[in-house]
């Protein structure tokens, strides 16, 4: 799954509203056993700040 900053914002919003649904979504689009780990790792690896981590 290609995670861009644009769809990351949408996924971040989904995580905030319904994190279980986000994990379900991730596992439904990619059946590799470590998809959640890779996703969290990639997300956490991005340079974030309070400003950049907002959704606008």
């Amino acid at each position: 799954m290609i995670v861009t900053s644009q769809n990351m914002n949408i996924l971040a919003r989904l995580a905030l509203e319904n994190p279980d649904l986000l994990l379900h979504f991730l596992r439904s689009v990619d059946n590799s056993p470590d998809i959640v780990s890779r996703f969290v790792d990639k997300w956490a690896g991005q340079k974030v700040s309070p400003r950049q981590s907002s959704f606008h």
Partner: protein, 142 residues
């Protein structure tokens, strides 16, 4: 906030990556501290029984200067009704109304409770997390 919210799932894969999540917490909170807490005056101050609710970058909002629209000719103009509605809508967004530090603390406490207490949490989730990072986060959370 999105990353932190994943702790609500109590998913083992998420908990295994707690170190990465805590790294983000530390970076974000450090940046806020570096900016002298990012204190600002909110557009619509909230009044509480104790007085006006103070805010900081832990509840993120853009500078008022950024809200002023500019024309092609270099001048500025007052925000339209649509702009004001949009701003009000965004101000009610959790991103702007949630204290980030409290949000992190609450989710950490929830994750600890879900896994059976602080000791169990430390043993299961923090075993792969850098001790120095855990100490730094403990200091931040004080």
């Amino acid at each position: 906030m999105g990353l932190t919210a994943l702790l609500r799932t109590n998913d083992q894969e998420v908990l295994n990556n707690l170190g990465a999540i805590m790294n983000v917490w530390f970076n974000v909170l450090s940046e806020v501290k570096d900016n002298e807490g990012g204190e600002y005056t909110p557009l619509a101050p909230k009044f509480t029984p104790g007085g006006v609710l103070t805010t900081s970058a832990l509840i993120y909002w853009r500078n008022e200067e950024e809200e002023e629209d500019s024309s092609d000719f270099g001048g500025t103009y007052a925000p339209s009704a649509n702009d004001r509605r949009k701003r009000l809508f965004l101000q009610n967004d959790p991103v702007h109304t949630t204290n980030l530090l409290n949000f992190m603390k609450e989710h950490l406490a929830l994750a600890q409770a879900n896994i059976g207490g602080v000791d169990n949490f430390r043993e299961v989730c923090l075993r792969n997390v850098d001790e120095a990072l855990v100490d730094q986060m403990n200091t931040m959370f004080l």
